[in-house]
């Protein structure tokens, strides 16, 4: 099963009731799959074939305000087109779930993935969870409804996964049992508001603006724990879990770690295994939760390892500080008295393949930084080097 099919099944098993969607590569197979599931009578939902992404999110907002469980999906230019609407669900506390099937933004990029499309929505208030493969996609979609609808959270959630590498690549995927998902995820009831005549409770709109914003911030802070809690409960029921916001992989006794996000994590697992086999002291950290950001977790990593190398599949022009994830990590580590070295790589931009050789190079550079105690440059644009043969 590929990632798009997995996401469609995730929405089906979660009993999403309203799905407003507009097609964009590489998300199209997801929404076509949902249309097929509905037409075959496998899925029971109102599918609204809207005329653009801005309307897709607006209709999602309307349906959610009226008390329906809502799912949608988009990518790249589509996410940018709906950006105005993306600010509404967090502010209105609507637990919409939208898959962001990552694809590079035009013009310097193609149809393939990098993470700028989702990362540029960093400040809107959406929870963002990055998935590595189809299994994680289906599981994360189901978990996302549970997280977003939790009374302590009430926020929209975006399961993100790389276009093509995850969306179109079939990998073995277990489809959870419907009755087990029903037990895990009860029907959606929102107690904060109601727009039905006679039962009307207004949908927010506080006169105290700073306080309302602070409430959203507090919800994100609470979400950190709830993401872990939901993941653990999922693990108990279904036998699979993802260690909450970050996963440490093959890190025992390592001096340094590479931090990856999305599909390249799978490639990095193989490279790290091989290097550990050769006695190299490097581990891997998979960053799943970008919002809320696992600040405390990174501080713990900072105390354990001598160097943290962030692999950014994105860039922020003019930042002079490297990729977006690396800037977030730097802010988290700043509070430490004894800070590790922070190394930053940018790779896979515009959807270029992230190769095993590139990951090996990044690991070697990181270990060299540990040895010399110095980081060569603020950010290393990996693809500008000729690394010779692909490993």
């Amino acid at each position: 099963m590929d990632g798009n099919e997995a996401a469609a099944w995730g929405a089906k098993l979660s009993r999403a009731e309203v799905i407003p969607a507009y097609p964009i590569t590489p998300q199209t197979e997801l929404i076509s799959q949902i249309a097929a599931l509905i037409s075959e009578g496998i899925m029971d939902a109102e599918y609204i074939k809207v005329e653009g992404e801005h309307t897709a999110m607006a209709a999602a907002i309307g349906a959610s305000v009226a008390g329906a469980r809502v799912f949608t999906a988009s990518a790249s230019q589509g996410i940018a087109f709906m950006e105005e609407a993306l600010w509404m669900p967090p502010g209105r506390r609507l637990p919409i779930v939208m898959c962001m099937v990552n694809r590079a933004m035009a013009p310097i990029g193609g149809l393939r993935p990098d993470h700028n499309d989702a990362l540029m929505q960093r400040d809107t208030g959406w929870i963002q969870l990055y998935c590595e493969n189809s299994q994680e996609v289906i599981d994360t979609v189901i978990q996302s409804f549970k997280i977003g609808e939790d009374k302590r959270v009430c926020l929209p959630v975006a399961p993100c996964y790389d276009g093509y590498f995850v969306s179109a690549t079939a990998t073995p995927t277990t489809i959870p049992d419907q009755s087990e998902v029903d037990d895990f995820l009860p029907p959606y009831v929102h107690e904060m508001y109601n727009i039905m005549p006679g039962e009307h409770k207004p949908t927010g709109g506080s006169s105290d603006i700073a306080k309302a914003r602070y409430e959203v911030e507090k919800a994100h802070e609470r979400a950190r724990g709830i993401i872990e809690e939901v993941d653990k409960e999922f693990g108990k029921r279904f036998g699979r879990c993802y260690d909450g916001l970050i996963e440490e992989y093959n890190c025992d006794g390592a001096e340094a770690v590479l931090v990856t996000m999305g599909s390249m994590t799978g490639t990095a697992r193989d490279v790290i295994d091989e290097m550990r086999g050769k006695g190299k002291s490097i581990g891997l950290v998979k960053l799943k939760g970008f919002r809320p950001f696992p600040t405390e977790e990174f501080r713990k990593l900072g105390k354990k390892y001598n160097a943290i190398a962030v692999v950014d599949r994105n860039n922020s022009y003019g930042s002079a500080g490297g990729g977006i994830v690396s800037m977030e990590v730097a802010r988290a580590l700043y509070a430490l008295d004894d800070r590790p070295l922070l190394v930053n790589f940018q790779v896979g931009l515009g959807g270029s393949d992230v190769t095993m050789r590139q990951i090996e190079y990044m690991a070697e550079e990181t270990l060299e930084a540990v040895e010399t105690g110095k980081v060569k440059s603020v950010v290393d644009w990996v693809e500008l080097h000729d690394l010779g043969e692909v490993m």
């Binding site: 309203v18 609204i48 653009g52 009226a66 005549p197 009307h200």
Partner: protein, 292 residues
């Protein structure tokens, strides 16, 4: 004292609360009083932010207000949720101003009409972006002054009711707050029809049209009497004029508003000729099928 009591009693019964943030003479509060009287309590109101919605900030019914780039789209989601919940008893009203309907959300309204969403889509038309301080919209009439058309608007007003009628929706109506009975009859009819109903009313705006607020109803009535804003409905593709006033010079309407005071005689003649053509065409088509 007696007058205060009267107001209190009225607003006790009305779905709109006393007091308004609108300008003196604005047609908005009147529009919503007339509409809500016949829509009734079992109504959800969705609408865009600016002028059209100012009048109903303090409404007693469930509302969901949003920016004017969101006309009809959020209501589409509400309609879907109502279907999921099997709530056929609720009337869904989606409101937008002329800027939303004719410009920034034109595609949204068109798409909702194409999908035949079950809602009454309302256009509260004061013929410019009044909330931001009188800027030209697609529904500003030819020749009208606004702050972005200081020499008068170059292009004619978009014919939104006719454009939407071409979407083959079940019901289209134009109305005026100067004719409350006709106005309310059309809302009642729209409420009883399944699918996408489009209801468009021009409302007076003394601030933007530049006239004495006390003359609001007088001015808007002249609009209907001179055929600047003809009243009709299109049901099942058949046009029916609901008001057929005798020809009256358009000048009477134009002269009543300072937004047209710079017009030359030639321009007035041009507007008269266009209005006459429109009047003749509508009279010819009255009672006939115009949508195929």
């Amino acid at each position: 004292m007696e007058l205060n009591k009267l107001f209190d009693e009225y607003y006790e019964k009305s779905y709109i609360q006393g007091g308004t943030t609108c300008c003196p003479g604005c047609g908005g509060p009147l529009f919503w009083r007339l509409a809500l009287e016949v829509l009734g309590a079992n109504t959800i109101l969705y609408g865009d932010g600016p002028c059209a919605y100012c009048a109903i900030r303090n409404i007693k019914l469930p509302t969901f207000g949003i920016h004017f780039s969101f006309a009809a789209d959020g209501a589409t989601g509400i309609a879907a949720a109502l279907r999921v919940k099997g709530r056929k008893d609720i009337t869904l009203v989606s409101s937008a101003g002329d800027g939303a309907t004719g410009d920034i959300s034109f595609g949204k309204v068109s798409a909702a009409a194409e999908r035949n969403e079950n809602m009454i889509q309302i256009c509260v038309d004061n013929e410019a972006y009044m909330n931001t301080g009188v800027q030209k919209s697609g529904l500003t009439p030819f020749g009208a002054w606004t702050t972005t058309t200081p020499l008068g608007k170059e292009a004619p007003k978009k014919e939104i009711p006719m454009i939407l009628a071409q979407h083959k929706i079940p019901y289209v109506a134009t109305a005026s707050v100067a004719y409350p009975k006709d106005f309310q009859k059309k809302i009642i009819k729209a409420k009883g029809i399944e699918g996408f109903k489009y209801f468009h009313s021009v409302i007076p705006c003394p601030t933007g049209w530049r006239f004495d607020p006390a003359k609001s109803i007088e001015v808007i009535r002249l609009g209907v009497q001179t055929w600047a804003w003809p009243l009709y409905e299109i049901e099942g593709g058949i046009l029916k004029l609901t008001m057929k006033p005798k020809r009256r010079p358009i000048e009477d309407y134009l002269k009543a508003q300072n937004r047209f005071r710079h017009l030359t005689d030639d321009q007035v003649k041009h507007i008269q000729a266009m209005t006459d053509q429109k009047r003749e065409r509508l009279l010819q088509q009255d009672g006939k099928r115009i949508i195929f």
